[in-house]
């Protein structure tokens, strides 16, 4: 910016392009738009309202977790136990209802407590041992996987929990966690609305509150943050508790939608959440990203996964397409951001 009258570069007004593209999520949004256009052009089924509802539902089951995980990644940590933690939460509620035979809502409530406790434990172990979150949550991943199978077999003698359909309180739970909401004649799963609500809350926290600043600071420069009085340890524990809450919410959906819980499920899903966050612009190193970006990342994943089916492509190649699209979306995102950032720094 060499102009005749030297201006303070801090107050120079930025062009529309760079103002847009320095935001972590805009590149992902552009990638999502391209992906949507591609599928819309090859498959007429893809753009039907009912198909869009199915895509949104698929995206929401990843997106709900991606909210918690993206905040955690902005805070500089990962959680490899997030996938099985969902199954753990669902099992906890189902097994408590089965064992004590009372109202299912006891199970739902205690499951929330245990999910938050698992999150707090992850965070506490991490900050206490000062090990990397990769190791700590890898350990809890294995422990939860083992607990899921072991406890389920011990209590029920099988690998899946008995149906909760006849438990008192089931209808209410189904209405809250697993109902369809008709919008213009199309049934949209309620998880889509929870997902949107979580994204709004997370965005508000990140942008408008002191806690949001703490999260960015804890992830970007933990030492400096600690030096200026940011409660880094509490922030990180809080972020893990946030992941626990998201896991509980998704778990309750699965419990009330499917009535039984398979103890072996959820393994590998943690990577989907991380992928959604990264595609959406979160940095693996922390300190940068957004909840909206993670939501778009989840949407890209949902569109790619469902789009391959709607386009009637051979499913043998599905994983390859998925990987290629995720790579393309991420690279596109990074490219646009760098371009915008370069424009600003010059």
């Amino acid at each position: 910016m060499s102009t005749a009258t030297p201006t303070d570069e801090r107050i120079h007004s930025r062009g529309l392009f760079e103002r847009l593209f320095v935001r972590p999520e805009i590149g992902a949004l552009a990638a999502a738009a391209v992906l949507f256009a591609v599928f819309a052009s090859v498959s007429p089924v893809f753009t039907q309202p009912a198909s869009l509802a199915t895509i949104l539902y698929g995206a929401s089951t990843v997106g709900i977790m991606a909210v918690g995980v993206s905040l955690l990644m902005i805070g500089g940590e990962v959680d490899l136990s997030a996938g099985v933690a969902v199954t753990t939460s669902a099992l906890t509620a189902a097994l408590i209802a089965y064992w004590f035979g009372g109202n299912i809502w006891w199970g739902v409530g205690l499951s929330l407590v245990s999910a938050l406790a698992v999150g707090a434990l992850n965070g506490w172990l991490l900050t206490r041992t000062r090990l990397s979150s990769f190791i700590v949550t890898l350990a809890s991943f294995f422990m939860l996987t083992g607990l899921n199978l072991g406890v389920t077999r011990m209590i029920t003698g099988g690998v899946a929990t008995p149906s909760i359909e006849r438990a008192p309180g089931y209808e209410l739970g189904r209405a809250i966690f697993a109902s369809d909401v008709p919008v213009f004649g199309v049934n949209i799963k309620i998880t889509v609305f929870y997902w949107i609500a979580l994204v709004i809350i997370a965005t508000w926290i990140l942008r408008r509150t002191r806690v949001g600043n703490w999260i960015f600071a804890s992830g970007g420069a933990p030492q400096a943050a600690r030096a200026v009085g940011v409660p880094v340890r509490a922030t990180k524990i809080g972020l893990y508790i946030g992941v626990g809450f998201c896991a509980w919410l998704l778990a309750m959906h699965q419990l009330f939608a499917f009535k039984t819980v398979q103890s072996g499920e959820g393994i590998g899903n943690e990577f989907l959440y991380i992928i959604a966050a990264v595609v959406g612009g979160c940095l693996m190193t922390g300190g940068y990203g957004s909840a909206i970006g993670a939501a778009i990342g989840a949407l890209i994943y949902g569109m790619a996964l469902k789009g391959v089916v709607y386009a009637e492509w051979s499913p043998d190649w599905l994983k390859f397409f998925l990987g290629a699209m995720l790579l393309a979306a991420t690279v596109f995102n990074v490219y646009l951001q760098r371009r915008a950032a370069r424009g600003r720094a010059r």
Binding site: L149, Q254, Q262, K306, A328, F332, A345
Partner: protein, 329 residues
């Protein structure tokens, strides 16, 4: 931030490569996936979706799928195959088939509770649904028209009777997926008709070295075992080596076959194979949907149509071998 030019170029190249990949992803399958696409010259065809709980690259499900593909080819139908071992995601695949307004759905009900709502929705949308392989106890209330599969207890009973006939005294039933209900039912069935004593052995099916070492150590600690029964052909192949390693004289029988197992049976290394005829499950399901759409027929009379058990011994090996090589047995 400043960027060196090469970084910029590399990024541009990467972005370009990514976009090309995306484009390739849209362009290629039209040709590659052509096998699954309807043939245009034969006019209007049926579009049948087949949705299983298979993991990627499982040989058993390849046989089911090739059965369905053969029937689809004969009936001029298009087969849309998809699979997801996760119950919730398998249910979403059923939802997608409904969105696609297919003419029929073939589904496995390994996790009936997860699939119930989606299958009911498909039935409510007027799409005929048949189930295969798993879900013998669950298909009727969902409005599914027919079920093609094997009753695992009946299959186990057949194996138990055969073992008794062969004079086995003490056997071990090797379960490679701990807690799989179908596996437990097979071993329960064996225990019901087998007159000798039976023990269960749990091995980790996704780790073959674990399977081998567990079977070997079991045979070393209990040398009077005279028969090992595995519940899948790949585990039988591992068991052959494990039995040899243990220096045991135990014989071997297995559920489900593949080409290697048939060869081993021909060589006398496997005494018999209990086959549920997966090819028949895929073929019959698709063919019956075609009959239902074109002539209103449906097999089974509201009861499960059994595709097994068929007990194969060394004398069958010769004739079966060439089919197994084709990937259809």
């Amino acid at each position: 931030m400043t960027q060196r030019p090469w970084t910029r170029r590399a990024l541009t190249a990467l972005a370009g490569a990514g976009l090309v990949l995306t484009l390739a992803a849209c362009g290629a399958p039209a040709g590659v996936g052509g096998a699954d696409a309807p043939t245009t010259e034969s006019g209007p065809t049926l579009k049948i979706a087949m949705i299983t709980h298979s993991g990627a690259g499982d040989t058993f499900w390849d046989i089911v799928r090739s059965g369905a593909e053969a029937a689809a080819k004969k009936d001029h139908a298009a087969l849309l195959y998809s699979a997801d071992p996760d119950g919730a995601r398998q249910a979403q695949l059923v939802d997608q088939a409904v969105d696609q307004k297919v003419d029929g759905i073939i589904v496995t009900l390994a996790k009936p509770d997860a699939l119930a709502a989606s299958v009911k929705a498909a039935v409510a949308a007027g799409i005929p649904v048949v189930s295969i392989n798993s879900g013998e106890d669950a298909w009727q209330p969902l409005g599914v028209l027919a079920h093609f599969g094997q009753n695992e207890t009946v299959a186990g009973e057949a194996a138990g009777a055969k073992l008794t006939e062969l004079g086995a005294k003490k056997i071990v039933c090797v379960i490679h997926e701990q807690g799989n209900v179908g596996h437990e039912a097979r071993c329960d069935g064996i225990a019901k008709t087998f007159t000798g004593s039976m023990e269960r052995l749990y091995v980790n099916g996704v780790d073959m070295s674990n399977v081998a070492s567990t079977i070997t150590s079991k045979l070393q600690t209990t040398p009077d075992i005279d028969y090992v029964v595995t519940l899948g052909a790949p585990f039988a192949m591992t068991a052959i080596d494990a039995i040899a390693d243990a220096g045991s004289s135990a014989k071997l029988a297995t559920f489900d076959l593949n080409a290697d197992a048939v060869d081993a049976m021909k060589a006398g290394k496997i005494q018999f194979i209990v086959d549920q005829q997966p090819y028949l499950q895929g073929y019959s399901a698709l063919d019956n949907l075609w009959l239902y759409k074109t002539n209103g027929n449906m097999l089974g009379g509201g009861k499960t149509v059994y595709t097994g058990p068929q007990i194969l011994t060394q004398s069958d090996a010769e004739s079966i071998a060439k089919f197994a090589k084709n990937g259809t047995r």
